[in-house]
Symmetry: C2
Subunit: 419 residues, 2 copies
């Protein structure tokens, strides 16, 4: 609406292409954009469930059990086939609707990646072939989630990588990017928790990035980073529209400057994917923190929130930090193995925690955001275990049982149901 | 046995790689050949059933319904993914067994084909990358059934094309080709019909070619043609061996000169895939046959056996010919549409026919083969409807109900149960 881009990349995730009927629905959405005069590239995921089937086979073939890292190039060969299938099927469907179309596997574009198989990063997308297809009036249907290394091996971008593929293609051809998904935009919070959640017409890259990394699963974090770095206009909208019906306006992700009416807080996000680890009775001298976190970093364990506190009754300290739930046991083993070296007395894990965050670029210029947050939580009797902040968000770690209560309280406290 | 080739291409069909357990069994067979000192390439089909699933999707996406020929490039994109999956899984399996291995999609080798999507022919296989892999002690696991056109589109070779892939790779790298399947070799006839059928230790290319085209489904016809043209030593053997057990000797397909003890007849083949079409009351003048068969050829209907006979009671003639069963109705429509032009009185179709053939290079130098055949059939009361012969085979069309009876009678008449 109001956008006058001539090149458009449309991205459809696994649920949007789950079967042939849905692929036809995608075809109609593509045809409408072509009819509107756009040069269109489409980036597709594997049909819903297919990637899981392929991953299970690679596990069965010994990938997970043996943990042989170089097997990841073969993992990529197997798993990338899912997107190739969808791309071919959609291209056929578009042709049957009378459009010119062809599919492009990652190696055909080519979408060059580094060699980090299974979690590769896109290096470069030479746009020439796609621009040629546009000039020929042809819709380019591109297999998402995959690229090719400089030496010609298939590489995948990691789970959710199709969003990143779409944004990267849009950057390469100089177009906008519409991400079609099973929701009709980005909401002030998860509508499954707060029925009064409102769709945002616009959100800034920075806010979207925080939302994505703090648990809102609408867009993959890396795709937002890339969109922000390359200034790609992104829109999130729903593919689940009936024949003849237009998709809604969705949510536009754009530069902060393009958002006229600034809000102090744009959304409330939550995540139950973290676990809290507590080290008790640490010696209170320099270098202890460094020792702990370098050991975790060496093992590729990402640490999120950290807080250190002096125990009241002694000159020792306690340290609390959070890691992803799936890394929790490994993190405990790592610090236990270094117990003597670090010198702590005991370690405890708590997986019954949730991280709740409020996000908004308006925080930069407004005092009192934290006060409102802590006040709203205190009023509902929610105890805050750890706090972390950035320029545009405040996160608190709380007992997981209070997640919904906290989300609703914060949503109301910032007036998000009044948008 | 006795073969001292250093390069070996092993081909495994869909039932041999149907699940992860069977892929591991294939892995053990490959490991044994590596241990025996061979440089090994493996050509694999899609897991049993996968190709059918993919083909059904392409039908659903409108390929068959719309019959848009250019959609076949997308058909190939979709369907070729099945072999890519198997190749990746087998490469992972081999690595987990401690071997060096990597998968090769058709475009990675590259296996160059022409642009006849869905039934492409292999143009050229530059062997350099595979030879480099051999030098590195690496098993090359190649996706069968597929190649790439010169302009970088995936092309498939048609059903059963993996046999052809394997023979072509063997020709390119100068190796022998072992085709692993669900039977342990080529038999004098179908053991499901004649329990006394004997495995042949050796069979000539020419005989194998006739066997394949006359209904023995062990090897794909095109792969035998290619093996014969390129003089690739081929062996057919079973992948269904228990762990620790060696596959049997199988059947070696080779030059006639390498077969010491010549047999007059090597095998009895049969096919129920044909239908007989009879044109009654044809004008008996030149050009009629030409008119009929050029119309059928224009519609890509392959005609196999042909016989023309003068009707006793008039100066008109009857013509009988056979086509593939799936082409029968179309063939009838084609001749009906030209009934006035051709000038026949009536047309009849008989689908209850079978073609039974005896094959043997010894026929060239031995008289009496036909006499034995017709005698054996007459003795069992089997009526012969059409006869066709080549230098090394005699085929007869009979009532389908007599198929087993005829096969057993001929198998005995040529002493094939005494081998």
């Amino acid at each position: 609406m109001g956008r006058t881009v001539s090149r458009l990349v449309m991205k459809f995730g696994g649920t949007s292409v789950a079967d042939l009927e849905r692929i036809r629905r995608v075809g109609r959405l593509v045809a409408a954009e072509v009819a509107a005069g756009h040069q269109v590239a489409v980036v597709v995921s594997a049909m819903s469930g297919k990637t899981n089937e392929l991953v299970a086979w690679t596990d069965g073939a010994g990938r997970a059990a043996q943990g042989i890292p170089e097997s990841d190039d073969e993992y990529d060969t197997v798993v990338a086939s899912g997107e190739q299938v969808t791309a071919g099927l959609l291209a056929m469907t578009l042709r049957n609707m009378g459009l010119k179309a062809r599919s492009w596997a990652g190696w055909q574009v080519p979408i060059y990646t580094d060699e980090a198989h299974g979690r590769a990063r896109i290096d470069e997308i030479p746009p020439e072939k796609l621009l040629k297809a546009f000039d020929d009036g042809e819709v380019a249907v591109i297999a998402g989630f995959q690229g090719v290394t400089r030496d010609g091996r298939i590489a995948t971008l990691g789970r959710g990588g199709s969003d990143t593929s779409a944004v990267a293609v849009a950057a390469a051809v100089g177009g906008a990017c519409d991400i079609y998904t099973d929701v009709d935009g980005v909401y002030t919070t998860d509508p499954r928790i707060e029925a009064k959640a409102k769709r945002l017409a616009k959100i800034s890259y920075e806010e979207m990035l925080e939302m994505a990394s703090l648990g809102a699963k609408v867009l993959q974090t890396r795709s937002v980073e890339l969109a922000m770095a390359q200034r790609v206009p992104v829109r999130v909208l729903s593919s689940f529209v009936e024949p003849g019906e237009a998709p809604g306006q969705g949510t536009i992700v754009c530069d902060e400057e393009e958002i006229m009416e600034k809000r102090i807080v744009s959304g409330v996000a939550y995540s139950r994917d973290e676990a809290k680890i507590t080290l008790l009775g640490l010696p209170d001298h320099p270098g202890v923190s460094s020792l702990i976190f370098s050991k975790l970093a060496d093992a590729n364990v990402n640490v999120d929130m950290i807080v250190q506190s002096r125990a009241r009754t002694s000159d020792s300290a306690n340290m609390e930090f959070t890691v992803g739930k799936r890394d929790a046991q490994r993190a405990v083993e790592i610090v236990r193995a270094a117990q003597v070296e670090i010198g702590f007395e005991d370690v405890a894990v708590n997986e019954d925690v949730a991280k709740v965050s409020v996000i908004g670029v308006g925080m930069r210029s407004h005092a009192g955001v934290a006060k409102t947050m802590f006040g709203a939580l205190a009023e509902k009797g929610v105890n805050i275990q750890v706090i972390s902040t950035s320029e545009i968000k405040i996160s608190v770690l709380i007992d997981a049982a209070y997640t919904e209560l906290a989300v609703r309280a914060l949503h109301a406290a910032y007036g998000l149901d009044q948008l």
